[in-house]
Symmetry: C2
Subunit: 415 residues, 2 copies
């Protein structure tokens, strides 16, 4: 990622200077190992393994951070801002966890913090919320914002692969890391949703406020049922405004096939925004990778350079209302899909139906398959109408405990 | 459109002031008829039918223009800029025809011209090119940028309606004007492509440079063949970079069903951008209508107000290279679809094939239907591989003159 940024800065100097109105000069590159061979030819004298050589150099006006992870990057960025340097960062973890603090320190120091690359690669998102959509009250943001899981789910759907095989394919294709937990567990999407939600509503949304579920419970057969019912399965990051509060959640969901988010392919990202004036806007592109990230980082750099040239801070400053909270998941109204394995004998349906009735959950569709004749078990696939999530969860637990039920093999929200 | 802008300014004063950092005060509204009843309650003292009351009032800092059309709007905007006022406009005709002049006058006067609303309603487009995508060399822009024709083509496809009926439906639904020429003839899309092309490549693309064809030659049966061949029919605005020149054209085209532009529904707009770093980005939303346009106009106003508050011009200025020209359509390499009605007798195929061979056009698919047994005529549907458009056109003319051919009933490019 860093090499792509350096490459564009070094090989596109004329164009960047023309567009920024000022020359962008690469002064120092912080790396772990100065001796390591690099993809891009960078003068050896620019490389350093000592952060102080950037952070304490008063001639450096802008610090670009594309390393990722919480510490030491948070401290580096804080130190840069505190000493009056502007910052361009692609760091979703730092921005999700400490963004408001860094932005308010930046406002105090009259410097800018740009972070377009932290969410959705080169897709214009942060800038869209900061300027284009400013005349709107944002009503909701729904996104497929993690390319790795989207690739994995796509492979599972296409080939009926188990999760582990699809993850291995994603690793081989360079879409998943050696330890895929951050993506598969929904953590990455949660950071990004925290950033998007904070900016969309001008409130403080912490990653820990967001309900999070990964894709690890999904089995190949769920994709078959999803198709049968007219859905795709996607890892959805969703936030929605309610009176005085917002909804914010990351989890796999059944998405109707004609919904734009159902059609997001491969490792792409897509963000669906609804504003009260603009209506629905959809923004799609590569959400990760060195080149798209460099597009966002260098785009931010150009905008920043323009404002530095004019001697002013050009960006609107942020404010985050701390009084607007996130609705607990149990209170969120949603629909659900249950896949239940039960003994194939009289009374099962009645017992399951009774639980739903007692929890006040209304059923939308019902499919029974007698898949395992020799075992005398059948698979019940049920989707519900919208209800409070706590009721759906209670129904799930109670059904799992019914005597003829072997397991609630899957539980997914329906979007 | 004007009412929606006024409404947001009058009813959202607090929010706008907070976001802009300064109060936005509606000072004067130019209307044709001061006495006419208005959708929005506007103090009668704000209304005037005299342009001078806005343009010559030194206390007015920003002129917002949402009236449309060339004159007198071009003169008004020029006068506003010349007297040091900033301008926010939704006027695609003025910006397509006179944008570079107005922008250079504005740079001279140190004021800003914002025109996000001129293309694609509230979809962030101009701002995306001006900032987010600045680190990229833009390779191509392909768009469904006229909502009216997209609605009309959608109705024709769904119900096999003739053009006239679909246009009447669009008029009834409020998507088409009483005189639909501007949309149906592709003029509107041409203005918008001129603006997008100019900004994407930083060159001067005049509407008159752009090859333009409307949707009026398309018949319901073409949609049936399109489906059979795996295409949708869309009015496409396309521009693409070539060494030293660009391609720029507006015409109906067969678009592969799995291409994102084939999936744009109703009156929506979609813009597909390819940059050398960012890869492919797709931006979709409502391209017209009072509310989306107001979203863009008021968004521009907020950004402008921020920059006025800081006492500087915040936007990058434009430059347009006049040496990069548009490739004549005849030289553009494209694929084509022919629907030919011919007598059903030996030798027809040979004759048609001979023409294609002589013109160096290679055939990609061929369907023959003996649709009219009593008349002894058949319909030949042919798609070609990519060739210079002049060859495709010459083949079309020569085939129409073949003795057994009654007519080349349709000729469409394949995207």
């Amino acid at each position: 990622m860093g090499s792509r940024v350096a490459e564009r800065m070094l090989t596109w100097q004329t164009q960047l200077a023309r567009r920024a109105g000022v020359e962008l000069c690469l002064r120092r590159v912080l790396v772990r190992d100065v001796g390591k061979p690099r993809m891009v030819e960078i003068g050896r004298e620019l490389l350093t393994a000592d952060a102080a050589q950037l952070l304490d150099d008063p001639s450096i006006q802008v610090v670009v951070e594309v390393a990722g992870g919480d510490e030491p990057m948070r401290s580096y960025l804080e130190r840069a801002i505190a000493s009056g340097k502007h910052v361009v960062t692609a760091n979703k973890v730092v921005m999700a966890n400490h963004g408001p603090e860094l932005l308010s320190l930046a406002a105090e120091k009259n410097v800018d913090v740009y972070f377009e690359a932290a969410v959705g690669g080169g897709i214009p998102l942060i800038s869209a919320f900061r300027t284009d959509l400013q005349a709107n009250r944002i009503e909701r943001v729904s996104a497929v914002i993690n390319g790795t899981t989207n690739y994995v789910l796509g492979r599972m759907a296409a080939e009926e692969l188990p999760l582990e095989s699809a993850v291995r394919e994603a690793q081989a294709a360079g879409y998943a890391e050696a330890d895929p937990t951050d993506d598969v567990g929904g953590f990455d999407a949660t950071y990004k949703l925290a950033i998007l939600g904070s900016i969309a509503y001008e409130i403080r949304v912490r990653p820990s406020d967001i309900y999070r579920e990964g894709i690890d419970g999904i089995e190949p057969v769920d994709f078959r049922y999803a198709r049968e019912l007219g859905y795709a399965i996607k890892l959805i990051a969703h936030t929605q405004r309610h009176p005085g509060r917002v909804e914010a959640r990351v989890h796999p969901a059944m998405v109707p096939l004609d919904h734009p988010l159902a059609q997001v392919e491969g490792a792409n990202n897509a963000v669906f925004v609804e504003g009260d004036l603009v209506g629905q806007v959809l923004l799609v592109g590569q959400g990760a990778g060195g080149r798209p990230t460099a597009s966002a980082v260098v785009g931010d750099l150009i905008d920043l350079a323009r404002s530095i040239r004019r001697g002013v801070q050009s960006r609107p400053s942020f404010s985050f209302d701390d009084r607007v909270g996130v609705i607990p998941m149990g209170e969120v109204v949603t629909r659900a899909y249950y896949r239940i394995r039960a003994e194939d004998r009289p009374g099962v349906l009645a017992a399951v139906g009774q639980v739903f009735a007692e929890e006040g959950v209304s059923i939308s569709s019902f499919i029974q398959k007698d898949a395992w004749v020799e075992e005398k078990t059948a698979e019940l696939v049920i989707t519900t109408h919208p209800t409070a999530d706590s009721r759906l969860q209670r129904a799930r637990e109670r059904i799992a405990q019914l005597e003829p039920v072997r397991a609630v093999s899957s539980f997914l929200r329906v979007f």
